[in-house]
Symmetry: C2
Subunit: 503 residues, 2 copies
């Protein structure tokens, strides 16, 4: 599965045509005409914020969004910084209201008043200023967001605008732009609440324009040709997408499901083994890919609701299916392990934590033969894993010696390594916060270059146990507890159970 | 037309059954069991606010709404006051943030900074505290509103809750409850934005359960029987309603339209004259009734968007129709005129404004005969109009003498009498803010008791000129200008043109 944490954002300048049909081509050079363009677009942005008449407003919103799309990247950046800085709130006004507020005495602490009426007067003043403050704390650019949201094509434009903002923030962390992004993100979360999203079962009967998007956006297991796509929508397979009425024909996120007899252990079984079993024999729904299509919705967890809805739909449709599981990558494992091995080497021997058990260390040195001369176990392990071509996978002896510590440390990584109370691994964090449990680790489940590089080929099944989803999510959220099946927990020794990485 | 300003709200205790089917019956006595009920409902309200697990939350929301419906009025009042006071925001926290905010220096006034980076730090602090303040200024009860909004039946429950709040506020203006109402109203305005409403052409083919609601809620021209309803949905007639997906089968507001050759001058022509003209001959769409069905949506202008959408639909459907007009009551006219006549009498003769022109006064005294003995024109007018049985309508002479000043003063009332820049008359204000013009005054257009009491039988046509709707609305909104047709304006003498009632 693809991590849902922010992926590198690109500027989708050419990929997304202007909202209204027009064949303007993007000018990439900061020529005088570009400069005039920026001014014009800025003017239409101003109109879109300050106009009140409906007809003119619609025209201004169109002008603005069309104009935005033809601007070169640098002009977009300037425009958005202008929006963030010059259409902010009035700090002077906010301060004025605060001073008024602080001048009123707080009756009887902050508690509710039982006696009723004598303090009504001062409470009225609180309520009035609080209300005014709520309004004055809204930046002026909220008007633009709200107007675009109800304007045809506007919601889509806003997600593209946010993708741009995020990419600019990667280059330069401008506080005003960061605040603009955070405000826009909160708005998008409201507008894209599950109540406003429509679950669509994607089939071979869907329009080609929609299916094309699935091919384009599938990021976990790329779709190579039409036959490949057809199979993923055919017997024993399901594909569901979340659509918003304002962005028709383009799922914001979609999930691919395989109906199976058992929880799959390798990518091979899901993608290539043929034929699929008859659907009536399936007892397991395996989520093998989830892809979000909009970089501008980064950080907005639509997948959580999508998974829950899909579980509901599949259960209703096929009561024989009782297991809901994923086959997921562990994208951060190798990075964590290599840096752990390196830092253990750097620290003095007194404080050094030996990541390997004595028997693992001797087995490894034994298997490595002359490669291990003069090195300890962790050095050998680092050398093997860090080598570019993953040569260790060509030696049965090395694979065998590595598998024990790699599986054990992987369990530790997934179950115990946390940052701010959340799992260090982004995909683990995604599923755990959705209420899944760590079900099983699968050795050599993804032998692709990417799989070996990210996680030494290990994949994990997260299990969604319907009755426990909310409970798990809650205990993960409030106490940072990671739920796991005994099988996975058995990799860990009891004393390691409460270790946690502080940040 | 029915005024859309707040109407007296009743508690819809029995009229609306609990959300989920259950046969609990309402206990009206404050018995010990009632007391236990209140505590229980309060507990489920608390759970609905503080719970996080989905299943439990849904149960808590159901418990709360079901419990609310069986509570007697007094307990509902207590519960809502508790919600308003004890689930408010934390003022101590708000004050703490404000002090932090005021302690940061405002860089270079309140203006945007061009130079870029040197002040990023202090701006970051502003953005951070502003964001925190926005959150801390949200009362705790917002959670309940948000959760109910996405819960099945919850939006409807919230409108009923607001109807209760409004009726409690009429009895006792508790500041906390007022603040609760204002917050809920803003939420409802967001949720009921036109983008979320569906325009439905109501016909005889609609479910009886929906048609029954039209009969129940039609408040302007009551529907007496099924035949009457059928006629209003038949040839030459249209009925449109606004529905929200979360409140199916029940329009929030509906409008009745008659297709006519000319703008009707009397209720008679619209409601009872038969048969209607063939639709292909119609050139005018007359809005003769607009009724909102939810007392809990009082103050939320859904009618404005409904009228605009209906105009669009009718124009598309029937290009031969070029005039869009209303036949509307003038509910505040008599009240204003009588108090004006009375206060003119009370003030000394020096400052007394004679509402009557000399020729009107003499004609009136002449027509009144011995009734006028020893009285001036305004006293005679007051006596005639204030009499309970509207006896003046039985005398052709009196009617003729009264008609001139009544029509002239009616034009003045509609065009010039303002309060805070808005038309004094609520129906006038409604249509003017929607962008209509005052088109024509119609003498003896509504001879019903109500029509005579409210406006001496006068009705008015407001005209919606498609190209000018936005412009009119804008100039009314920003400069308080009332647009009128020359016909109406001719009642007024030039020097009266800029008079305005200050408040």
């Amino acid at each position: 599965m693809r991590p849902l944490s922010p992926t590198p954002n690109r500027i989708y300048q050419m990929q997304f045509p202007p909202l209204e049909s027009s064949n303007v081509s993007s000018s990439q050079n900061a020529s005088p005409s570009t400069h005039r363009n920026l001014e014009q677009v800025q003017e239409s942005m101003h109109s879109a914020i300050s106009m009140n008449k409906r007809e003119i407003l619609d025209a201004a919103l169109n002008n603005f969004s069309e104009g935005y799309f033809v601007l070169p990247i640098e002009s977009r950046r300037k425009l958005l910084v202008t929006l963030a800085r010059e259409y902010d709130l009035s700090r002077a006004h906010v301060r004025e209201l605060m001073k008024q507020y602080l001048a009123i005495e707080l009756p009887r602490g902050d508690e509710a008043v039982d006696s009723g009426h004598e303090e009504e007067g001062s409470f009225s003043a609180f309520y009035r200023i609080e209300r005014n403050l709520r309004h004055s704390l809204k930046p002026m650019y909220e008007v633009l967001f709200e107007r675009l949201n109800t304007h045809p094509g506007g919601l889509r434009f806003l997600t593209i605008m946010r993708a741009d903002i995020l990419s600019f923030l990667e280059e330069d962390n401008i506080a005003a732009l960061r605040a603009l992004d955070s405000y826009l993100k909160e708005k998008l979360i409201t507008w894209l609440s599950p109540a406003n999203l429509h679950l669509h079962h994607i089939t071979w009967d869907d329009p080609a324009s929609l299916l094309e998007k699935i091919v384009t956006y599938e990021a976990v297991h790329p779709i190579s040709n039409l036959l490949d796509l057809k199979r993923r929508l055919g017997v024993g397979r399901r594909c569901f997408g979340y659509l918003h009425p304002a962005i028709p024909g383009e799922p914001l996120i979609f999930i691919e499901v395989a109906l199976m007899m058992n929880v799959a252990q390798t990518v091979q079984e899901v993608l290539w083994d043929d034929p699929p079993i008859p659907e009536c024999e399936a007892t397991c729904a395996l989520f093998y890919s989830i892809s979000s299509t909009q970089p501008g919705l980064s950080g907005i967890n639509l997948g959580k609701f999508l998974i829950k809805r899909v579980i509901d739909v599949v259960r209703k449709d096929m009561p024989s299916i009782s297991t809901f599981a994923t086959l997921s990558p562990i994208p951060g494992y190798m990075q964590w392990l290599l840096s752990k091995l390196a830092s253990a080497e750097r620290s003095g021997s007194t404080f050094r934590e030996n990541l390997l058990k004595p028997e693992e260390e001797s087995a490894l040195i034994d298997a490595a033969g002359e490669l291990a001369t003069g090195k300890n176990g962790m050095e050998v392990m680092w050398n093997l894993l860090a080598s570019a071509n993953h040569e260790w996978t060509n030696s049965a002896k090395l694979m065998s010696a590595l598998s024990t510590p790699l599986m054990r440390l992987c369990a530790r990584y997934l179950l115990q390594e946390k940052k701010r109370g959340k799992a260090l691994d982004p995909v683990a964090n995604f599923h755990l916060q959705n209420g899944a449990m760590v079900g099983r680790l699968n050795w050599m489940a993804d032998r692709s270059e990417k799989g070996l590089r990210q996680s030494a080929g290990i994949m994990v099944n997260y299990i969604y146990t319907v009755e426990k989803i909310e409970e798990n999510a809650q205990s993960y959220f409030s106490r940072g507890q990671t739920q796991a099946f005994p099988d996975v927990r058995s990799y860990l020794e009891p004393q390691e159970d409460h270790e946690e990485t502080k940040d």
